[in-house]
Symmetry: C2
Subunit: 386 residues, 2 copies
Amino acid sequence: MGPVFSQSASDPVRLTDAMRSVFVELLVHGPLSRAEVARRLALSPSALTKVTKPFIEAGYLLEAAGEGPATVGRPSQPLQVDASRMAFVGIKLTEDELFAVRTDLRATIQKEVARPLAGHEIDHVCGQIADVVGELTVPGSPLSAVGISLAGTASPSDPVVHTSPFLGWSQLPLAKLVEEAVSVPTVLDNDVRALTAAQQWFGEGVGHSSFALVTVGAGIGCGLVVGDRLVTGQSGGTGLVGHLQIDDHGPLCERGHRGCARAYASSPAIRRSIASALDLPDLTFDDCLAMAAGGHPVARRVFDDAGAALGQVVATVANITGPELVILSGETVHMYQVCAEAFQAALIRHTHWTTTPVRVAVKPFAFNEWARGAAVTALQHLLLHR
Amino acid sequence: MGPVFSQSASDPVRLTDAMRSVFVELLVHGPLSRAEVARRLALSPSALTKVTKPFIEAGYLLEAAGEGPATVGRPSQPLQVDASRMAFVGIKLTEDELFAVRTDLRATIQKEVARPLAGHEIDHVCGQIADVVGELTVPGSPLSAVGISLAGTASPSDPVVHTSPFLGWSQLPLAKLVEEAVSVPTVLDNDVRALTAAQQWFGEGVGHSSFALVTVGAGIGCGLVVGDRLVTGQSGGTGLVGHLQIDDHGPLCERGHRGCARAYASSPAIRRSIASALDLPDLTFDDCLAMAAGGHPVARRVFDDAGAALGQVVATVANITGPELVILSGETVHMYQVCAEAFQAALIRHTHWTTTPVRVAVKPFAFNEWARGAAVTALQHLLLHR
DNA sequence: CCGATTTATTCTTCCTGTCAAGTAAAGAAG
DNA sequence: CTTCTTTACTTGACAGGAAGAATAAATCGG
């Protein structure tokens, strides 16, 4: 049971391109027979026995006994990655909290931790991260990589936080600092891009070579996969759809834009609109949602407007990038149920007339999805770029 | 001087990936020494002598005598592709005309032909195309490929025109028909994408792994290059920015959208706005431009609005896709000179506040650029996908 | 004129993935 | 029950592409 993946920088086990792509194909597309993988990747059948053997010997791949539909010919022997063979930690940093999860190779969450962030000084945050990583480490199985995600311009290619509005950081080499503190390879990425990575390999994006992810919550975000590659814009800035102009007589956002998407569809904006129209300053977002579901005219109108804004955002993204699919997610996607008609109407209205509206998949969101996304970023980086 | 590139389907000369990438690198990035190419493509120096030798023997690469800056060490020997070694024809189809150019390997136009299209029946159009191709063929040097571009949903991967608003076609296997008529490999693509390809290899896009091209003219278009790859959206639809909503009290476009980008910035809309405001129905677009340049208040305002609309389109595209650069081009880009301030102001205003505005390059446009783009599509297809 | 330095070439070596041939494991047909 | 067909997998020989090492070439600085 020799090593297959490099355990450290001083132990350079070489993975060929074929080995990498076969492993990723099996990881992402579940149990597949060697013959099927060979067909998908345009490799010869013999290449597959050769490539899979070291993985099987090292315990990364298992020969799943699960039979497929009985056909003529020798039955195929599905292969499957042993998800427990590696472990990752993903951490999402917000202004005042730190969410962390430990996942296996298939991004299944095994343990999770949340803790408040008292301050934003680097040492404090690094200390908290190291602490949490320690808490999530299981003696027997060492971590393969750590991923950290946050709102702001960051990308795995340069391990520096350029600007983070929430945390008030700039030009901070966070990945390097954490890597030294916990002695595990650490990558840093934008939170929406991390979530997009999770969808690409383990979510609705599986099987689509191009798709967009639109998130709604405290803000509105957008991640992009084009040609099977996660798009990283110039200086980490992609999917900045929050301030897309919806109309020019709508509510104001905090940057002084009238009628931009955030001002219509972000959860604070929705809450504020309803609370101020009804003069009930203590309404929560969930109160608002319940009112809309119950048919309250003010809440209905605000959510309808929000849905329409979202539909326009999705249509605009789809018009420009032409994805196969748009995934709708984020902390407050569940509001889709009360504004689906307004969303669909706006989507159709703003879709360019020469094409049909994109397929939209609404993906329920759990609060730990952000941290899971960070774990997937770490996993992808380990598997693809090392 | 044996063949290097496959001359026909029955003559399968195999190009390795290394050969292909070296040839393209030299074609796109001009004369480079072997050592320099080796560094750029992460190949060994020895690989370069081996790879370049057959190209040199077959006459596709020349050892340019041009000396670089004198440095210590053995002087490098720059290599250069012999642009005259191959010829391409690019054809742009419009509603009532057909533009065609013959170019060399470096997309330099050598000859051009324009002729009216009397009708849109397939046989007539194919006949005209075959005619023009014949006219552009030089006895000694056979054509390597033909490219055809048109407005509408078409892409090289499926040689069928799905819908073409101008020509009234649908589901027409045009590439196959032309290929049979002229016996030269033929590819079909959307016109904006073809123009983007030309910019990618031989224009402002050279050296940028991601950029967007925004065109203004009869309509507004957008092409995208992400990660060095030209983006082809689902069913060929990318860059459909023409009907992007700018505001909701502006002029009407022909699809009934109020205040969409075309209604502000397309040349017919600009002309119409000024002509109707002044009750001068016979004004041409160039008249309007001259009036704006001369300071006429109505023309100024209309062009300022158009510039602002364009700036918003560019900012929106940049926010969503995060390109390194946006190239502005199209039949009426020269109008930029009278609306630069309005454009820049709108660009800044609509750029997401966490990033700096994209760099914008204004690219003068000649009427044969569309056809040249089609030729580059053919060239790229030949070099990359065969 | 002699090292230093960088480029280019040649020859050997390594190594990945294909090819061809053979084995394994089922169902189908006689 | 035997034989054929079909598909999946394995094995070993082989091709060929690129790296590595050694060498030649060309220029500059002293």
